[in-house]
């Protein structure tokens, strides 16, 4: 899915859609910047395209932290999941999970942070769960807990109603 901004489709359809990659503030600036792209010709057009790409990436929410081995002298070498495609699918999974759970109010980001903290602890032997599996499991648990809490709340409310009714009955003056 691509997004158009005022300019023609062929001018902007190679840039990832801003709606999935940034906030409204970024979109407004990108629209303005793309007017530059419309006017530029030749070499200037190539440069303008690069500027728009930089803007688009600047407004990507968050930056993936794993799977991008640069192998600089001071950077620890990362070998696991060394593919930006994999991280892309991971991000999609998290986004899907967020959408799925937004209805029940489960905060996936908080869970994600907790899972990262847990990852720092020594791993048990046997099959190692992926980060997504851990988040999915934790989210499921949170959802179930919330459902139980709602159920308990409902029962309390019914009980309160009954008690109020009984109270009214008890307050009826006797003759």
């Amino acid at each position: 899915m691509r997004e158009k901004f005022g300019g023609s489709q062929e001018q902007t359809d190679w840039i990832a859609p801003a709606e999935s990659r940034g906030d409204s503030y970024g979109r407004v600036f990108r629209q303005t910047e793309e007017t530059l792209l419309d006017k530029a010709r030749g070499k200037a057009r190539e440069v303008a395209r690069v500027m728009v790409v930089v803007t688009a990436l600047t407004f990507v929410a968050g930056v993936p932290k794993e799977g991008y081995a640069l192998n600089l002298p001071n950077q620890p070498e990362k070998t696991a999941d060394d593919s930006r495609r994999d991280t892309g699918s991971w991000n999609k999974k998290v986004e899907d999970l967020k959408k799925e759970n937004s209805r029940v109010g489960v905060d996936v980001e908080t869970i994600q942070e907790d899972v990262k903290k847990e990852e720092k602890k020594p791993q048990k032997k046997g099959r190692v769960e992926t980060e997504f599996e851990k988040i999915a499991k934790r989210t499921k648990r949170e959802t179930e807990n919330r459902a139980k809490a709602r159920e308990r709340q409902g029962q309390r409310e019914i009980q309160n109603k009954i008690e109020r009714k009984i109270g009214k009955v008890l307050r009826i003056p006797r003759y």
């Binding site: 303008a48 690069v50 790409v53 640069l70 600089l72 001071n74």
Partner: protein
């Protein structure tokens, strides 16, 4: 293997950016699409100085994004217009 992205990484490593900036720049482009990477690689292959220019452009943009200062955005646009006039 992602050949385009590997080429991008190689070119960034060859640039004059500091190690920290190189890392930041590669991380920034780790979310890029192939089409976006094509556009950037074309300029980088021609002249590695574009890495520095692009990074400078990114730094200004990220600062403006964080500060939410519209004047900074105006300044960036003015600089970009000036740059486009010179190429």
């Amino acid at each position: 293997m992602d050949k385009k992205f590997d080429l991008f990484k190689d070119l960034v490593l060859k640039s004059d950016l500091s190690d920290e900036d190189k890392f930041t720049f590669v991380m920034l482009f780790s979310r890029s699409t192939d089409e976006e990477l094509d556009v950037v690689l074309k300029l980088m292959k021609e002249d590695l100085d574009w890495v520095k220019k692009m990074f400078r452009n990114y730094k200004m943009k990220i600062e403006a994004k964080i500060s939410k200062d519209s004047k900074k955005w105006d300044d960036i646009l003015a600089r970009e217009k000036k740059l486009l006039d010179t190429v």
